[in-house]
Amino acid sequence: GAGVSQTPSNKVTEKGKYVELRCDPISGHTALYWYRQSLGQGPEFLIYFQGTGAADDSGLPNDRFFAVRPEGSVSTLKIQRTERGDSAVYLCASSYETGELFFGEGSRLTVL
């Protein structure tokens, strides 16, 4: 497909477990973003990549959160020792230097 793809679309896990969320951006897009959105709120910035490197990771809430983009395309957001407060929709977006972000449908994470 031509759009941003995120997997899984839904993830239910138990407190303390490790979770990986994957984002497949639009081909050729150099910038990739991760946001987190809680119910009724706007997207909260987590991190963005230019190519393989994290250009700004100031939004990652703590060291349990980590993201990689090893080949400058697919990215994985990794959450260790999940907590109930991590429950949210995690949104990925990609962009080709125009400023316009193309979003995926999100991964809904529920931590029990």
Binding site: A31, G42, F45, L101
Partner: protein, 112 residues
């Protein structure tokens, strides 16, 4: 923390009426964008306006930007039931970078 705040938080209008929502932000910007989000879906880019522009149109959408007041407005003319969604503004922060911070959103409901 979020850079932008939309006003009103919620808006309910009849089909055919115009809908106006406002965004105020805190620091200087290079550009401001508006996005729409249907319930449970990803965000869709609507329009980007640069700091040296005062007004921009796209179909039934009209966006204004007042950098002296650090505010922007989105006008949807002749609204339709399909316009029911949440609308968010996003600003580049720091200005001139590709990091975008989203506001809190306006939930628009258009009644048929």
């Amino acid at each position: 923390s979020q850079q932008g705040e939309e006003d009103p938080q919620a808006l309910s209008i009849q089909e055919g009426e115009n809908a106006t929502m406002n965004c105020s932000y805190k620091t200087s910007i290079n550009n401001l964008q508006w996005y729409r989000q249907n319930s449970g879906r990803g965000l869709v880019h609507l329009i980007l306006i640069r700091s040296n522009e005062r007004e921009k149109h796209s179909g039934r959408l009209r966006v204004t930007l007042d950098t002296s007041k650090k505010s922007s407005s989105l006008l949807i003319t002749a609204s339709r039931a399909a316009d029911t969604a949440s609308y968010f503004c996003a600003t580049d922060f720091p200005p001139g970078t590709y990091k975008y911070i989203f506001g809190t959103g306006t939930r628009l409901k258009v009644l048929a």
